[in-house]
Symmetry: C2
Subunit: 228 residues, 2 copies
DNA sequence: GCATTTATGATAGTATTGCTATTATATTTG
DNA sequence: CAAATATAATAGCAATACTATCATAAATGC
């Protein structure tokens, strides 16, 4: 894969934290360990108390960085999309073909990370896994409008917008670029989950790359210009 | 829409309840009121205590019907898919064209119910709304395998299978019918949510039927046989 | 019509959760 | 070396999911 220069920081909307976790050891531990734990036990079972114990700190200290468990999740997901946007730029610069750029974007979206790489202290494989299974929980609830107002989903929306632009570059007349890309993103996440747990809902297995093939096929067949 | 004979019961896997809610007044009240409440305040804010108070009963009594809040949700979602399968049969019987059958199935999947109709005591509009926003919560957690074992998702899988069969009837060589249909189902749910709350992720608005059009277009372009 | 089963209500309780408040103690900074 | 800041320690609160116990009402069988 790509070697990202780890000096360039991934930006996350500052409304999602009370105190920047990058600014201290404790902040770093909170983020790193929460990724470990959410990945291991899932968002529902994950608690701030368990997190605090795991890093030899206290609940009160964690709450000085993140005002709620939900905000911590939003922070992680936002970080993920910010990083994905970064990867997208790397995967598409200096490439002229709109088709190739879009193909690469779809791979980025649909492939699970299977190497245990890190970006600074962030375990990317685990964060990727969290994004796949927990990200819908960041917007499928009654607080979505309130959180949207403070910009909690901007990184996600920016990413969708950028890939949608690639769709329009390929076919400027296609009517539903954003729907298509958000469908591919959320669909790919779910298909991975189904492959692991509800295989009757898929036609993929964990040792092929049918999910990537399916969505690539889906996108290009949808946006290709056909003469009538 | 169709007039369904309300005498034919919708079957739900009996592992999802301790005591059949159809067998008593209290059971009926539990199910009817939980649909009202989950629709109104969302699954997270919904509690068994609030439900019990709303129907002038007690928590302990509710727990005699459903062993957990999660099982109650699974019951509602299963009921929904059982009902959807029923609607699918009605929408496709006596129709010979595979294309028309599939078109009708996609409408069934992608359209939100906007008439306040009931099936016995079940408010279908509200249940439909719950299925759209809460159903991923029934399988996106660490207990999914355990619940799958007791058949919690059979109605969902059966429905997907039936629509996938229509895909294969249209094009027997298409490789990913189940992935396509589960993607359309979950994708349509999300697109409706995005339309209402995160419109930058869509190209639809609440007063058009772009979601239906988008997914119909997506499906047929994906499965159409083209000569090379 | 009476005994017995069954369904519900009333009440209480447990462990855990998300989150807050207060105070003490380190550590950094000026 | 004083003052500001960050963290830990401890306690607590209201709410949650869920359980246990017992009393009472209603339905059922004979």
């Amino acid at each position: 894969m790509f070697e990202l220069p780890t000096t360039i920081p991934i930006q996350v909307n500052s409304n999602l934290y009370l105190k920047d976790p990058n600014s201290s050891d404790l902040g770093v531990k909170i983020v790193a360990k929460s990724i470990d734990m959410i990945n291991a036990i899932g968002y529902e079972e994950f608690t701030i108390r368990k997190l605090a114990q795991a890093i030899n700190s206290t609940e009160a200290s964690v709450y000085r960085y993140f005002e709620s468990k939900q905000k911590l999740l939003l922070y992680l997901i936002s970080w993920y999309w910010s990083w994905m946007e970064y990867r997208l730029v790397f995967a598409t610069t200096n490439i002229s073909s709109a088709k190739v750029k879009l193909e690469r974007a779809i791979c980025l979206i649909t492939d699970k990370i299977d190497v245990d790489e890190k970006y600074n202290y962030i375990n990317l494989k685990k964060l990727n896994s969290i994004a796949f299974t927990e990200s819908t929980k960041s917007f499928l609830h009654k607080e979505v409008d309130k959180e949207n107002k403070i910009g909690a989903y901007s990184e996600y929306k920016n990413f969708v917008e950028k890939v949608s632009d690639l769709v329009l570059e390929f076919n400027p007349k296609y009517k539903y670029p954003n729907m298509l890309i958000s469908t591919v993103i959320e669909g790919a996440h779910l298909q991975h989950h189904f492959t692991d747990h509800l295989p009757r809902l898929t036609n993929a297995s964990s040792n092929d790359n049918h999910i990537q093939q399916f969505f690539t096929d889906l996108v290009f067949k949808s946006i290709i210009t056909t003469k009538k």
